[in-house]
Subunit: 506 residues, 2 copies
């Protein structure tokens, strides 16, 4: 989920101000909280390491229940008063509350699942949480989930437990929701939200954040005002469902007089994008696509003006953007265009060389990225209708997860509090009109909750969804927060939410 | 290679004559040879079992050298006087000769490689060669290579060693050539044939056979007069070669402004077959395709008249032929139409569910089946030109093996001797105009050798390229030869080749 964010961050304004949070009048006990965070450093790193040892991988059936129970114990341990596992038809969610007797309530969203990993591709074991030197950055922890999202989440919980340890009253009440299926596009998270107790608690909150390590190498941070929606699905062509071609793999010579489910899939796929192999060509796909607003273009242009096209291309391993567009146009397109992507193709023999089979089954793994005002239901229905109209109605559309796009008002209390927190911490900030990456914010920003929602947090990491995922623990760059700084920023944010809310009421 | 043959055999005339070879005048020592074959039964079965224990799998780097050495030792042990491993740029070949001081020479072709296998799919271990009961058939050996082709080959060698054991002079001299890459379409076998010593030896032979277990469940046998050619290749689309899209897997959200090698491959594949997902649409593909002759259609019609369409469909797991054609038309098409088949598709994430990547590489595993007068070089050149003309010139065409179609004259000495042998053995016989499956017979039937060539042998088996491959060892059906009967039929065939040659010279 984070890789696009990292890219966007890298393109943003690289202002060069020193970081360092200072207490404001009206932040009672802040110094004690900061001291508690620092005193807790070694234990906190150990808690992150322990958590990394227990990977929950939704689509591989790994540690579903265990991950949920562990999540529950982590929030109870941090100071939440009530926490429960919320069963769903898939991996369970977790719900918790912390009533500090404050006037205002903030909600926080966690994911406790991680992407799967191939240990052979890692320089240090993915579940060990080893601390290594990263030149130019400092000491980092290597592990699956380090940045996506156990690391930032551990920093957030460290802030909460520091208030408890320091005997300081939390400035806001907290509502906590977590899921274990973020990496498969949150198929059952709406069930967690629909739980009456969870929903009632969330309705009291003035906004919701997902902790993230959002600083660029220059220390700059980008506040995401929106993100595309994502729908993950598999298109499966099979002789069995088609009623043509074989119901299993047969000898390839039979291609002469038997139909091929693999070719059937290729023909179907071919209709989904235009001849350029890029532009979605599903009937009615652009009907509800809203163009970027002038303000959104302004924000993107500011990002691009500060970005480095050559660096971006190097990171991505590309030589040109789609249609050889210029950097600005390519970034408008990144935010504005819905996509139909092939994540994977699987059919028949997939080993080295060849094998003389005519496969009975072929699968394309697809993800759709949606922009406002597209919805998940609309996208799936249009895809199915498009296929059916062209004689591909037999192809299974197996939706494994997804959600629509999310957008939050830059004038909301949440964004205002985030901006104020960063200003106080002297962390240079830009706003991102819309991330091309996705997170299930629409669960909060859409009906019925319609809350402000966004990723928030300092510090830095990388390698989400890739080998050698890392989180900065001790920063060698004064502009970028290490682990303790990340936790302190969350503590300051809690103060700021209360302050901003108080201002708004005046 | 055999599965199509099995299907064709099943469709052929099911005449019901008792089998049982009888000596002809002028077959000196035949009874001693038959006795020696029977006395050798247990040892021969053990030799087959031992051979199965050593699988050579060309495309997995398994037992290349070991398989060749073992093959060499098997033929020396059977009575060949000279045998050598013939190095190639791939898996080695084997060449051997047996000079019996006879007037005529027969050549024999072996493959010592096998298809790979997934032990978990087998009911008994694929390398154990366990003997089990097969209802309606008798005692069979289960093992990878049992029928394709170590079993029939072992029966052939048992015949040869029986002449030696019985002290009976072989009626013909023998030339032996073997390869270890048949299952990957024989990419280096032409190098074996091009060896001057091998070529000179083969030029003395009046024909060449590949041992096979060719009887149907009714005991009927089909003589293959021809077979389609096959070219195996992988089409690889990559950001690296394309110069567009990423040179590795990147986050799928980038689909908005980055090109996709997977979509590029889909668009390229889409041009290779017509809208029906079946008919080859490569430019000029049918230019050299010769229609079936009246005689070929007559042979196919005879097969079809004796076949059972419902059984064929059940075996294949299909409900209809391409275009809902009738059984006869579908069988004409099977023999006549060149094909472009997708063996496999591989790109990006191939595990369960999805993963948010935009893959840097996509591969389609393709096989082309060729009919006279198409050639391998022509097919590959036309495919490349077709792709290049449509803007897909960057897609790698990685040819991993292949050869053109083969055809043998039904009036050749070899086919005449085969027919006479079967008539004497009272095995009902039909001729197949052309197998849709392939074998590298063109190496022999094409220039420069232009020999008659064909698969030949009695007995029965199944499961080539599938789990639980088997060969009939002790037949419970008097119409079908068990292992000893298979060896005896080869002995009789050697007598018959000498006799037919003598007749031709008169």
């Amino acid at each position: 989920m984070r890789s696009t964010k990292v890219i966007l961050a890298a393109t943003a304004i690289a202002a060069a101000l020193a970081t360092g949070a200072t207490a404001k009048p009206g932040d009672p006990g802040r110094e004690k909280v900061v001291a508690a965070i620092k005193a807790d450093h070694e234990a906190a790193v150990e808690r992150l390491r322990d958590w990394i040892k227990l990977p929950t991988i939704a689509n591989m059936g790994i540690n579903h229940r265990e991950g949920a129970e562990y999540m529950r114990s982590l929030v109870l341990d941090a100071g939440f008063q009530h926490a429960k596992v919320v069963p769903t038809d898939g991996v369970p969610g977790v719900f918790a509350t912390l009533d500090a007797g404050a006037k205002d309530t903030l909600a926080v969203y966690f994911m406790y699942d991680v992407k799967h990993y191939e240990p052979s591709e890692w320089s240090s074991p993915p579940l060990e949480g080893r601390i290594v030197d990263r030149p130019g950055e400092g000491k980092v922890m290597i592990g699956r989930g380090a940045v996506n999202q156990k690391g930032p989440e551990t920093a957030f919980l460290s802030a909460i437990r520091a208030f408890k340890a320091a005997g300081v009253k939390l400035p806001v009440n907290l509502v906590f929701v977590a899921e274990g299926e973020e990496e498969i596009a949150s198929p059952h998270f709406p069930q967690v939200i629909a739980n009456p107790e969870v929903r009632a608690a969330l309705e009291k909150a003035s906004g919701i954040i997902i902790p993230s390590a959002g600083q660029s190498v220059d220390g700059q941070m980008t506040l995401l005002l929106g993100a595309k929606g994502a729908v993950e699905l598999q298109l499966i062509s099979s002789g069995e469902k088609w009623g043509r071609g074989p119901n299993k793999d047969i000898h390839s010579s039979l291609m002469a007089n038997v139909d091929s489910p693999a070719w059937h899939l290729v023909k179907a796929l071919n209709t989904l994008v235009a001849e350029d192999g890029h532009t979605p060509a599903i009937d009615g796909w652009f009907e509800n696509v809203k163009p970027l607003t002038a303000r959104q273009k302004e924000l993107i242009a500011a990002d691009v003006a500060a970005g480095n096209e050559a660096d971006d291309m190097k990171v991505l391993g590309i030589k040109r953007w789609y249609k050889e567009e210029d950097y600005l146009t390519a970034n408008f397109r990144l935010a504005e265009q819905p996509t139909v992507n092939i994540q994977g193709l699987v059919s028949g023999y997939t080993g080295p060389g060849g094998k003389t089979v005519l496969p009975g089954r072929a699968e394309a793994k697809i993800d759709l990225r949606l922009v406002p005002d597209m919805t998940k239901d609309e996208a799936v229905a249009k895809l199915k209708a498009h296929l059916a109209k062209r004689g591909f109605g037999d192809i299974e559309v197996n939706v494994s997860g997804g959600y629509g796009p999310t957008q939050t008002d830059e004038n909301s209390l949440l964004i205002k509090a985030e901006q104020a927190t960063l200003a106080d911490a002297k962390i240079p900030m830009t706003m991102s009109a819309r991330s091309a990456g996705s997170w299930p914010g629409v669960v909060f920003t859409g009906p019925p909750l319609k809350m402000a929602a966004g990723q928030f947090g300092g510090g830095r990491g990388g390698g989400a969804h890739a080998p050698n995922e890392w989180l900065l623990i001790e920063s060698s760059n004064p502009k970028v927060l290490g682990f303790d700084g990340q936790a302190i920023l969350y503590a300051d944010f809690l103060y700021e939410v209360a302050r901003t809310a108080a201002k708004a009421k005046r």
